[in-house]
């Protein structure tokens, strides 16, 4: 039977809108195939891996499952709950990874907003002619590769030849040789100094994003609203706290969540600057996943950690959707 006599084909390619239907079908069918092959299938395979003790080095059956890569059920997930000090190394490292990532995110998000919001206000307040210059200067690091950023900051924090120690030495008049990114005994308020160093580099690169978003949001506030407040006798501080910030609130919430999601997935700067060290103090989750999947070839474990990380990010995204549904009109 020729394909063209099949009823479905007839329905698809004949009739009044046949040209439209053919166009849509010719585009959507490849899209579906692509999605199935490069998204749905990998997601399923990746999820399945989490239930196997899988390593690409070992032989297995279909898709590498079975054989030397045995099914282990929920074992990978159960292991994550071990809390005894003699838990396997990957479990201990996973726990540090979760702690480090949460610490990283909780520090990065507020610090980011504390810098970007005032920065956006200040840049919006200066003369139009120089506004663009300041925006460009603070936006520049966004455009640079994060690898380059990490290397640059590595030379700022270098214990012997670094800029920071040189400045501190110049101020104190003594030779300063603090090993910012490599000394595990440096801990301030329970937070490793190496993590602070990584956060500084990360923030430096990331600030420009939220800054331009806030500048755009500020420019979106109608002048009439501000004029009305000024006519009513508001001073500039009241204008900022009573009018501008409340109107920015939806944008602030959204950027906070977007910043949180991307901070959860930090990898480049940490891997290049410290590679998780010293003594795992900057070992974030994605670095843990990368190490176990591609350095130690324990992909089953890495896939299980990926799922846990995904669930953490998903819960934030769902929160985002809830917030997005409450839109503010003006």
């Amino acid at each position: 039977m020729a394909l063209s006599t099949w009823p479905g084909w007839q329905r698809l390619f004949s009739g009044r809108d046949s040209a439209k239907k053919r166009f849509v079908a010719l585009a959507i069918i490849p899209l579906l195939l692509f999605m199935v092959f490069w998204t749905v299938f990998p997601l399923l395979w990746g999820s399945a891996l989490a239930f196997f003790d899988y390593s690409p080095r070992r032989m297995g059956g279909f898709l590498g499952f079975g054989g030397d890569n045995p099914f282990v059920g929920l074992q990978n997930f159960q292991k994550m709950l071990y809390s005894s000090p003699d838990a396997p190394l990957e479990v201990q490292q996973f726990h540090t990874g979760v702690k480090t990532t949460l610490l990283f995110v909780t520090l990065v998000v507020p610090l980011n907003l504390l810098v970007t919001l005032p920065l956006a206000f200040m840049i919006e307040s200066v003369n139009k002619r120089v506004k663009g210059i300041f925006r460009t200067l603070f936006f520049l690091p966004v455009l640079a590769p994060s690898v380059g950023v990490a290397i640059m900051w590595g030379y700022v924090f270098h214990p012997q030849r670094g800029l920071l120690n040189a400045i501190l030495g110049g101020v104190t008049g003594k030779l300063v040789a603090i090993n910012w990114t490599g000394d595990p005994s440096l801990v301030v308020a329970g937070i490793p100094v190496a993590l602070f160093a990584v956060i500084v580099a990360y923030l430096w690169q990331d600030l420009g994003y939220n800054m331009v978003i806030f500048i755009a949001a500020l420019q979106g506030i109608p002048q009439t609203i501000k004029d009305a407040a000024l006519i009513d006798g508001a001073n500039s501080w009241q204008l900022l706290t009573r009018i501008v910030i409340p109107l920015l609130m939806p944008t602030i919430l959204l950027t906070a969540i977007l910043t949180m999601i991307s901070a959860f997935q930090v990898f480049d700067i940490v891997q290049v600057m410290t590679d998780g060290g010293p003594q795992g103090q900057t070992q974030v989750l994605l670095l843990h996943i990368y190490n176990y999947a591609f350095r130690y070839q324990k992909m089953g474990w890495a896939a299980a950690v990926s799922i846990v990380m995904f669930l953490m990010i998903l819960s934030i995204s769902l929160l985002q959707n809830r917030l997005l549904n409450t839109e503010l009109e003006y």
């Binding site: 998204t39 455009l143 030495g169």
Partner: protein, 281 residues
């Protein structure tokens, strides 16, 4: 007679300058430190405490990096450019086409498919990282630039963005072309696409930048030296040159600055793309 004079603007010193000027200088310091270091001699770079401005200005580091047989920068520039340009081209094509279709056509399951694509936006890339690597290994595409191009043909956010832009195209315009007997692809190509020009520029620049600067996925897929991209080769070089900071700094300048300057010129579109993605979710 009324005279219109420009409102007399009293010179008011904005306190913001007192914060912005020092802050922007501090923000530039890491760049400056790297650029200055790239002109110092090896002896000067190892000096403790370090100097700020090079005492003995040299271009020798650049000469050594550019003639280093283990670091054929041209090849890595080419690799990065192939991946970034190919991905921009295909992502712009698929995003505009599917965004247009989702905006302007009705078909069975459209809503479900669109929600499915939107939900893909929420899945972090590391979820498909491990199986993606295994698929590329099975297809023999590890250490092949195609391994970074084939899986990147569709971008969920791009489809979403272009749908927003395509919604604004008047239906009358499309129907008029249909009455004139134009084919559907012709209408997309000649009528719908030009209407989405700003989105093409914005999203194209953003895609190029993300691809050009990408690190993790290329690091996984490209492990043989001569197929690597610039960010990966830069870390490889800096690990090999430990203690020779002046050479790594010169290599970093050669890798980062040329394209950074180009990005500066198209900054407007990149900023627009970021604010679009940030403001509209």
């Amino acid at each position: 007679m009324t005279t219109f004079s420009r409102p007399h603007r009293r010179f008011r010193l904005n306190l913001a300058y007192f914060v912005l000027i020092p802050a922007s200088l501090i923000a530039l310091l890491p760049f400056l430190w790297m650029i200055l270091g790239s002109f110092k001699t090896g002896r000067e770079i190892r000096q403790i405490p370090p100097t700020f401005f090079p005492q003995e200005f040299t271009l020798g580091n650049y000469q050594r990096v550019l003639t280093d047989k283990d670091l054929p920068l041209g090849i890595f520039y080419r690799n990065s450019a192939i991946i970034a340009l190919a991905n921009v081209a295909q992502v712009l094509f698929t995003s505009s086409l599917f965004g247009y279709i989702f905006a302007k056509f009705e078909f069975k399951g459209k809503k479900a498919l669109f929600w499915f694509i939107l939900s893909l936006m929420m899945i972090p890339p590391q979820m498909t990282m491990i199986p993606g690597y295994l698929i590329l290994a099975k297809l023999g595409l590890l250490n092949n630039l195609l391994g970074l191009i084939l899986p990147a043909a569709v971008d969920a956010f791009g489809i979403f963005l272009f749908r927003q832009f395509a919604l604004a195209i008047p239906n009358e315009l499309l129907d008029a072309a249909r009455v004139d007997g134009a084919g559907e692809f012709y209408i997309f190509r000649r009528i719908a696409l030009p209407q989405m020009g700003p989105a093409l520029a914005t999203f194209g620049m953003l895609t190029f930048m993300f691809n050009w600067n990408a690190y993790l996925w290329p690091l996984i897929v490209l492990t043989e030296k001569n197929v690597r991209t610039l960010p990966i080769i830069l870390t490889w070089f800096s690990n090999r040159m430990v203690g020779n900071d002046h050479l790594t700094m010169a290599a970093s300048v050669l890798v980062i600055l040329p394209v950074l300057i180009v990005f500066l010129f198209v900054q407007r579109w990149i900023v627009e793309g970021i604010t679009l993605s940030g403001l509209k979710g």
